[in-house]
């Protein structure tokens, strides 16, 4: 119970600290992207407009949440050491792992709020755009048989909001949480925040190729043992970030089966837990 209270207190403090650093200003750029994109695309057909809006918005959500996860996490440990806040906290009966858990909780809460705000903005613009197109469609089909109007309306609504967008957005959040835990692990042995950011960015890129290395290794077709070993190392050390890229296909209209979503969510949760556990292990032996 006490552990929960301590985690919540540190988490709340981390969240407030990050909000005070005006991290949510990135939402202005996101809003510009989403609204600007929808205004700029007026020349395209409505299917194209909706597709572009979803492509750009979900892509931007993925970029911003990943960046926020890496940058917010990379900075806190060096900053707390510089400010000496870490010593004040750890001088109290607060285990080091609890301090890290509190920090991670605060960052994940910030990511959740950021993803929710971006989703709200995106869905709001999508809804507005849909209302405009629906009004235009109804005016164009005035006097046409009800069946034809219904078919046209269905075409518009099918191209806009799909329930599949929800698991897609949830997976964007999970990926960001995973990246936060991963950056936390790197920051426990890093010497500076620049090192942490660079390492996390490198892992981000390699993580997207992990599935290719894994399949190559498991196929076992290469005669060179050292190439197989290299592929195995990539497959075992790096997370499979490609597994979290469901939105590319969701936008294209592919439905997400429940099983796939559950497996991806479980993978995200387990990766986050593993990186946190490793961060706690390394941090417990670090000289402060």
């Amino acid at each position: 119970m006490r552990a929960l209270r301590v985690t919540a207190a540190i988490g709340r403090n981390t969240f407030t600290e990050l909000v005070r650093q005006k991290v949510f200003f990135f939402l202005l750029i996101f809003a510009l992207l989403v609204i600007g994109n929808s205004a700029f695309m007026a020349k395209l057909s409505f299917q194209e407009q909706f597709q572009m809006l979803k492509d750009i918005s979900l892509g931007a959500m993925s970029v911003f949440s990943s960046l926020l996860a890496i940058l917010a996490t990379a900075g806190f440990l060096p900053k707390d050491m510089e400010d000496r806040t870490i010593y004040t906290i750890l001088a109290k009966p607060v285990p080091r792992w609890l301090y890290l858990l509190g920090k991670l909780t605060g960052i994940i809460a910030l990511l959740a709020v950021a993803v929710l705000l971006m989703s709200g903005l995106f869905l709001g613009v999508l809804w507005l755009k849909e209302s405009v197109v629906l009004a235009e469609t109804r005016a164009q089909f005035e006097g046409a048989p009800v069946e034809e109007l219904a078919r046209a309306v269905k075409e518009v609504t099918d191209a806009t909001f799909q329930a599949n967008l929800v698991p897609g957005i949830a997976v964007i959040f999970l990926k960001a949480a995973l990246l936060a835990a991963l950056t936390l692990f790197i920051s426990t042995f890093a010497t500076s925040s620049i090192f942490t950011i660079l390492m996390a960015a490198a892992v981000y890129f390699i993580g997207h190729l992990q599935a290719t290395a894994r399949d190559y290794w498991l196929a076992g077709l290469d005669p060179d043992w050292w190439l197989r070993l290299l592929a195995a190392a990539v497959a075992l050390v790096f997370p499979d970030l490609q597994a979290f890229n469901l939105t590319d296909d969701i936008i294209a209209g592919t439905a997400v089966p429940l099983m796939l979503f559950v497996e991806t969510a479980l993978l995200g949760f387990l990766y986050t837990a593993v990186y946190f556990a490793l961060a706690a292990l390394v941090f417990s032996g670090r000289e402060l």
Partner: protein
Amino acid sequence: MKKRLVAAFVLLVLAGAALLPLQLLAARSAEKAHFRKTDIDIGLRERIGQSGFLAALSGFRSPLAAILWIEAHTAWENTEWGRMAGIFQTVTTLQPRSLMYWDMASWHMAWNAAVAAMQNEKQPSEALRIKARREYEELGRHFLERGIANNPDRYQLYLQMGVLQRDRLENHCAAAEAFLKASEFPDAPPYAARFAGYEMAKCPGREREAYDHLRRLYEQGESQRLPSLINLLREMENKLDIPEVDRVESAAFPPARER
């Protein structure tokens, strides 16, 4: 610290091994649900450049495809058909599950580019204009074929293939096949089956089959009994010499608009 760091890396490798079955399970489920079908290869790398390739590898296929699509739209405004075709190849490779990209790419090539080729005043030879038109039409068909190969679980591109074969290539037998395949999907619009029948009726040697198909639709009830279907049925009854007792009723049908 160093010992803990080494222990952490050993544990990281062990955790990677422990998570391997779940990774494979998720990858299999994704493949089964038609996710991640993009073929990211050296050909794509050459077309989109290094930074684009990096973006595609980092999970930003869809925004990259959107940006390229806007580029294609600009090319369309400048009637740069060759450039458009190249961009369409890239966009459809990046997003092979997006029906809109296949559909629009095919439409632009088979209709807009083909018509523009025929109206090309810079080409005095009519034979070469026709050749160019056919090439664009074929390109449009090729886009739909690849789109269908990537989306065999959806009816929309079969339907577009039917329209292309019927209206552009005037291959009624191929159009009938495409409409028929579209109509086999449970969520396909009811007109797909009717269109299959209409085209089958124009396909030499398949008249009887067309009649049976249209008759089955007629038996389904009022929703399929449209004037064009009934007129065609009557026409075929005369042509196939169907006995009077087996013919459709000659009652008056309410006027309806056929798509």
